[in-house]
Each structure stands twice: as C-alpha cells, then as structure tokens.
C-alpha cells in the first residue's frame, strides 16, 4: 500500500510539471495581445507598449517561463496582471469558495444518492423506474437552467433567498448558508440521480451474490444484510463515480458561480483566461491539478479501506 502511494505521488508530481508547462505554452499560443486587452480600445500605442514592457511581455517566451517556474518553486506565483493582487492570495480566496460549494454539493449528492439508490435497489417498483427516468432527465437538463428556475421562483418571486451574491462565513454563518443554498441545490439536483443510479446498480449486483444468500439464510435482519454487508461491497464503483463527480463539479461550478455572482475559482478562471491574465491562469491550473491529484489519492485510500483486495494488489 505504501509503495503504491509513493508511486501515485511521484506520478502526480510529474503530471503537475507536464500540465503546467503545457498550460503556459498554450496561453501564449493563443496570440492574444494582452497589453491591449488590459487597456482597451481607446488606449494609445505608447500606453500599450509601456504596459507590455512593464509586464515583461517583450521578453522571450523561454525567459518568462523560466522566471515563472523558479518563482513557483519558491511558492511565488506572481501578481495578477488584471487585479494587481498576489496570485496565491487571489486563488486561495477564490478556490476556498468554490471548494466549499463543491464539497457541500458532493456531500449532499452522495447522501441523497445512497438513500435513493438503496431504496430503489431494495424496493424496485415505481421508485426504481422514477430513478431511471430521473437520471436521464438530470443528465439532460443543464445546471444553469435549474439554477435560473430556482432564482426566479425561490429568490425573485418568493423572496426566500437573495438572487445573487455571496456572504463569507467569517462575516455571517447564517448569511453564508443562505447565499450558498441555491447554488448547491442547483448542483445537487443535476447530479444526484446519476450517482444514485450507480449506487442502485452496484447494490443490485451485490445483493445477487452468494454471500448475501448465506447471510439471509443465517437469519440476519434484511437491513443488516443490505446496509452493513452488501452496501459496503457496492461502495467501490460508487466511490469512483463520486470522485468523477467531484472533479466534474469543479467544472460545473463555473456557470453557477457566474449566474449567482459568487466570487469563486470558476468565474476567475473564465475571466482571467479571456483577459490573458497568465499568472492567475497558471495559479489556477496548478491549484486545481493538485486538488484533482489529492482527491484521486484519497479515493484510492478509501477504496483500499472498503476492499482489502485493492490493498494487496
């Protein structure tokens, strides 16, 4: 298990190096005139040239990349060209918001999915058929549409929530909960059925196994058979889906953040990419790559805990 983890960690670091190099080169290959983008259409050529020199855009690409890497290795990711804030501060602030959204959404999606999935697998019937339809509909409806409907109905018409904005937990916990309820709801609604479907499928498979019949024949209560034995064996595939879900939600949060005017990493990624704010884009690439690597590592460890076979192989 330990050597397995070390191998994963090393390949993760190698991957990080490759990803950041590729991202850096790609950003420059778009050929966007960054200084002009920053200054707008009315700025004179002199102002544009002065800004380009100030940002080091007149230096060769290799020099700039080496500068960035040596800075990054010392933990200095530079300063945003667009908002003049240190990248580590900006990305840290924004990523915290996105992660809180994604963690909560994943948690609730998992919770509801397990409950619905178990009920569907055990009872089958109309709940099961409803889940089948629901997972298709859930996958087909874009999350921004769900979000828009939630805003119009619950915020603008019923006034239960504020339609936009984000309250930081350090300012007000209840305000924070109110401000993230609709975004989380929108993310959960569109993802929960797919995960529930996965739980249902693997639980049905597990319940067909011989050991289940054995357990039942020994007179164990059905709830113990399902929840303590079959569900644990069904957890493997569901966990993999959850990891995918988490990474997918990082992307899915982009549009949700824009719609609710939430200062998260997704909206930052969009705006800094189109502005050509390379230090910020690179900061985000590195941070998100690290998160994805860590999540996969954690899932691997959990898999081992649920299934001893993984630990041995």
């Amino acid at each position: 298990m330990l050597s397995f983890l070390v191998r994963r960690l090393l390949s993760g670091i190698a991957m990080l190096a490759v990803i950041s190099t590729l991202a850096y080169l790609l950003m420059f290959m778009t050929g966007t005139d960054i200084a002009r983008n920053l200054l707008g259409q009315n700025a004179s050529e002199e102002a544009v040239a002065a800004r380009a020199a100030q940002l080091g855009l007149d230096q060769p690409l290799l020099t700039r990349y080496v500068d960035w890497v040596s800075g990054a290795l010392h933990g200095d990711l530079g300063t945003s060209w667009f908002s003049s804030v240190p990248v580590t501060e900006l990305v840290g602030q924004r990523l915290g918001v996105t992660l809180s959204l994604v963690f909560l959404s994943t948690f609730f999606a998992a919770l509801v999915a397990v409950i619905v999935g178990v009920i569907a697998a055990v009872h089958r019937g109309w709940i099961d058929r409803g889940l089948q339809v629901g997972s298709i509909v859930g996958a087909a409806i874009p999350n921004y549409l769900v979000a828009l409907v939630l805003v119009i109905v619950l915020a603008i018409q019923l006034k239960w929530f504020e339609p936009t904005g984000y309250t930081r937990p350090q300012d007000s916990i209840s305000g924070w909960l109110m401000s993230i309820t609709l975004p989380v709801l929108a993310l959960v609604v569109t993802t929960v059925a797919g995960v529930a479907q996965q739980v249902r499928g693997s639980l049905i498979d597990a319940l067909r196994q011989d050991y289940v019949r054995t357990l039942r024949s020994r007179g164990l209560p059905e709830w113990r058979v399902v929840l303590l034995h079959a569900l644990r064996n069904a957890a493997g595939p569901a966990l993999s889906v959850l990891a995918l879900l988490f990474v997918g939600l990082l992307g899915g949060a982009v549009i949700i953040e824009q719609l609710f005017a939430i200062p998260g990493a997704g909206s930052l990624a969009i705006s800094s990419t189109s502005q050509g704010d390379i230090p910020v884009v690179m900061g985000l690439v590195v941070a998100i790559a690290v998160i994805v690597l860590v999540v996969n590592l954690v899932i691997d460890i959990l898999q081992g805990w649920f299934n001893p076979k993984v630990r041995i192989s």
Partner: protein, 512 residues
C-alpha cells in the same frame, strides 16, 4: 423528480405572469428591505472592475465610480458636461493657451493625514506621466507641471489641448496621496481625499468593493452615504437577477431586451448618447482596397444601409439614426446632417456604376465572437443587395489589435464622440488611433489647427466644418447614436454624465 417538474411548471407560470402583468405587487421595490431607503447605504451594480487603484489602473467609463469613491478630481462635471470646481476652485489659461493655472482648495488632507497642496498635484502628474495607464494620452501635451505656491499649480503645455480641463475631471485629475505611490499595496489600498475609504477587510477583489464614509470629508455640497458597496457582475443575467431582487440601488445596464423586466421591477432607466456605431473606412486613399479610395463608393455604402431597420431590430429602437460622427453634445454637431444619407439602394447602385463597379467588388472585414453576429449579417445582406460581397475574418480576441495594426481596410465599430477634440484625436487627425491609414488633407489639417489652438468660438466653427467635410467625403458610414443606459431604484436620483458611460459617483444622490 416530481419536484423539478413542479418547479419548472411554476417558473413557466410566473414568467408568463411577469410577461403580461409586470409581475404585479410582488416585484415592486417597496416591499423589500434589502436596499435601504435612507442615506445609510448605497449599493451599485457594475459589469466591470478596475485592475487596481494605482495609477496604472486609473480609468473612467464604467470604472469611474470606484475611483470617485476614494479620489477627488481636480475638476468635476455637472450633468450637462459643464466644468465645476473639485479640488481646484478656479482654472485659467494664458493667452497662448499653453499654460493652465489651477487654484487649489486650501486645508484639505488625504486620509493618511498628509496635506493636499500644489506639490501633491505635481507628484500626481509626474506619477501619471511615468505610468502605463490606458489614459496616458491625457497627458500628451503636458511638458511640465510647476507648483507656483502652496495653492497654485501651473501645467505647461507643448501645444494647446482643448481637452485638458475635461481630462482633469477623469483619470488625469485623480489625486492620490504621494506617499502612497511607493506602497507595495498601492493597487489595493488607495489613499485619497475622497468621500469614502476602501474597506479592505470587507472587499473581495473582482467581486465586491465596500467603502466607508470618510468622516473628515471636506465637501458637504452632496450626500455621502455611510457605506457604499459596488458589486461586480460577470454576466448580464446575474445583474438582471440582482436588479429584480432589488439588491442594487443603481446599476449599469446594457441589455435592451430585458428593459421591460427592469422597469417592471420598479427601476427608472436613465438614457444618454455617447457613442455612435456603424462602418468605418480606414483605407480612404485606396492603397490596399482600391474601391474604398473612391468617394462615390464610400457614399454608396452609406446609401446602401437601412439604418432605421437595423436600429429597430438590433437596438429595439433605442438610439437615433445619423449620418454624422459628431455626437449631439459636441460643438461640431449639426442636426441636419443626421439624415444626410438616407436609405437609397438604387442611388447606391448607380454611384457604384459611376465609379466603375457596376459588377460589385469584395471587402474583407474583421469578426469576433464579441460582436453582434445578427448585426454583421445584416450588413452583409444589405451590401450584397448593391453588389458588394463582404467576407468576415475571425480575429479571436485580437479584434482591436488587428484593426489598429492596419490589417483591415474597413470594419464595424462603435466610437465615443461626446467631445469634439477627443473625437478628432480618436478618429480624424492624421495620427489618430482610428486613422490607421493616415488619411489627411491640407484643408482638414488647417481646421484641426483651429480646433486645437483657436478660441472656443473659432474651435466650434472649425469642428462644424470638419464634421461637414467627413460626412460629405464619407469617411465613415455611421448607422446611429446608441442609447447608453443606467438604472436606479426609487431610493436614488441619477443624473447621467454628459460624456461618460457610468455617472460620476457624485451624480448619484438620494431621492429624498
């Protein structure tokens, strides 16, 4: 699942209701408590945020309120564009109009306690000149600036600049504490004399900017709120939702298609006209695209465009059809030039035939995903009707760079034209930003000279002649002056600025 279906149904129902009845009582602004109606707080919605509060970030347009909050300007504008005192109480030119002397308010201090005086103005001007601010050209004629005494400062110019006093109402007039220039956090921690100070703890850069009232503010001629919040919205949809939820007291607004929803939510829409849009011809000597060198061809294109229909379809009628590039607020504006080129495709065809293009010709124009594609295809269709084939080349994110780099001989464009000399510098003089091919004539050069160096009356007469010249010679094919919108709820009264997209902050005042 049923819940989703029910929610969709409910939304469809409520949308339907809102569409026919304006939402009834539930969307009126009175019955929510989110936006205060006293002077405790003002919440503004914007679609842009500044790159920083340091000199490199100085900007006006949709950014101006962020800066007005923390910095006073030397001169201010009222809603009609008249210059009124700010940190400077008086300003006078010498006879040659190459020295501008300002008289400064006495006894004002920056929020760090340092005094505002002539030395502070000199330091700000020099800091501006050494910067890479987008508005750097504001200072192009300023050779040096001199502190005459504590309350008098003289700007020495290389040539007269009719725009200088106007620039002092914007970026070039922002006054920051000189001691703050070298601060490492100068971009995020501004120090000015302004009505507010930035609350750094509550501000989230690129999202929410919170300002607290400056308790020692010197000017009680207008109301300063206890707190000012400027919220940045990345999309029109988010801003519209915030407006419908009455989360903002005043906001920039651009989406004409949702104007009804904004009004139904109890907001007043304030309108001004600052820009015109249409086709710009750059290669007027025909060095690359020979047809554009013929004035008859450029006139033909003017006649070929059905401006009113485009205005009605694209802008839902929110604008004024015109043939002249000078805006209504300028001295060069002449009402009778608005319909100089009416829609007349037959005349266009015969002008093209006269010029030797009876079989038409092709033009390559730039495209970008940021442009209105319906508008571009309308242009394509209408020009195709008179035999001109327009091909559109995608420029990605480099639309402006490619244009200014001279890669295209003509294009669609929207230009600001609320000031005579500013517009001349932007699009008309030989080295103007949007005169990439350097079109020039001795007649015009003499008129520009008068616009720059003459008295106000002489300059105004010259501007009118310039306007007539560029209309008759079809330097452009303007379609219409575009309505610029700003919205406010019942707690505020907004006076739109005469030459800026967002009102100066001091033009947003409580209703009571």
């Amino acid at each position: 699942m049923r819940r989703i279906v029910a929610a969709v149904g409910a939304a469809a129902l409520t949308l339907g209701l809102a569409a026919c009845g304006g939402g009834g009582g539930t969307t009126s602004s009175e019955d929510t408590s989110t936006a205060a109606s006293d002077h405790a707080s003002l919440v503004i919605g914007e679609l842009s945020y500044p790159t920083g509060f340091d000199v490199n970030g100085y900007s006006i347009a949709h950014y101006v309120q962020y800066f007005n909050a923390v910095f006073d300007t030397l001169i201010r504008q009222d809603g009609d564009g008249n210059l009124v005192p700010g940190l400077a109480t008086e300003w006078t030119y010498d006879d040659a109009r190459t020295t501008l002397t300002l008289t400064l308010q006495d006894g004002i201090t920056f929020t760090d306690g340092s005094p505002f005086n002539a030395d502070a103005v000199v330091a700000n001007v020099e800091n501006f000149q050494a910067s890479s601010t987008p508005d750097l050209s504001n200072a192009q004629y300023v050779e040096s600036v001199e502190a005459v005494d504590d309350t008098h400062v003289a700007y020495h110019l290389s040539a007269p600049d009719p725009m200088l006093t106007t620039w002092l109402t914007g970026s070039f007039g922002f006054m920051a504490a000189p001691d703050s220039f070298a601060n490492p956090d100068v971009a995020t921690n501004p120090v000015g004399t302004g009505p507010y100070t930035l609350n750094i703890d509550k501000t989230v850069t690129g999202s929410t900017y919170v300002f607290d009232k400056n308790p020692d503010y010197w000017d009680d001629s207008y109301v300063v709120y206890d707190t000012l919040t400027i919220n940045y919205y990345e999309t029109q949809t988010a801003l519209l939702n915030a407006i419908q939820g009455n989360q903002v007291d005043a906001a920039t607004f651009m989406d004409v298609t949702s104007m009804d929803q904004v009004e139904a939510a109890g907001y007043t829409v304030y309108t001004s006209q600052l820009d015109w849009m249409g086709l710009l011809f750059y290669d007027r000597d025909g060095t690359v695209d020979k047809p554009l060198g013929d004035v008859r061809v450029r006139q033909a294109i003017n006649y070929a465009i059905d401006k009113q229909t485009i205005l009605d379809v694209i802008q839902l009628g929110h604008g004024t059809v015109t043939s002249q590039p000078f805006g209504e607020a300028t001295a060069g504006y002449q009402a009778d030039l608005d319909d100089y080129y009416g829609y007349d495709p037959e005349k266009a065809t015969s002008l093209l035939a006269e010029a030797g293009y009876a079989d038409g010709f092709s033009l390559d124009m730039p495209n970008s995903s940021a442009l209105n594609q319906d508008l571009l295809s309308a242009i394509q269709t209408q020009l195709a009707d008179v035999g001109i084939t327009v091909t559109l080349t995608d420029t990605g994110a480099n639309f402006i760079t490619d244009l200014l780099g001279g890669k295209f001989t003509s294009s669609w464009m929207q230009l600001a034209s609320a000031n005579d000399w500013q517009f001349a510098q932007l699009a008309l003089v030989p080295n103007a930003t949007f005169n990439m091919f350097g079109t020039q004539s001795p007649e015009l050069d003499a008129l520009f000279e008068t616009m720059q160096t003459g008295t106000d009356e002489e300059a105004a007469a010259a501007a009118q002649e310039v306007n007539t010249y560029v209309v008759e010679n079809a330097w452009f094919a303007p379609f219409y002056r575009i309505d610029n919108f700003y919205v406010g709820n019942s707690s505020v009264v907004v006076t739109p600025a005469a030459d800026n997209a967002s009102p100066y902050l001091y033009l947003i005042q409580p209703a009571s």
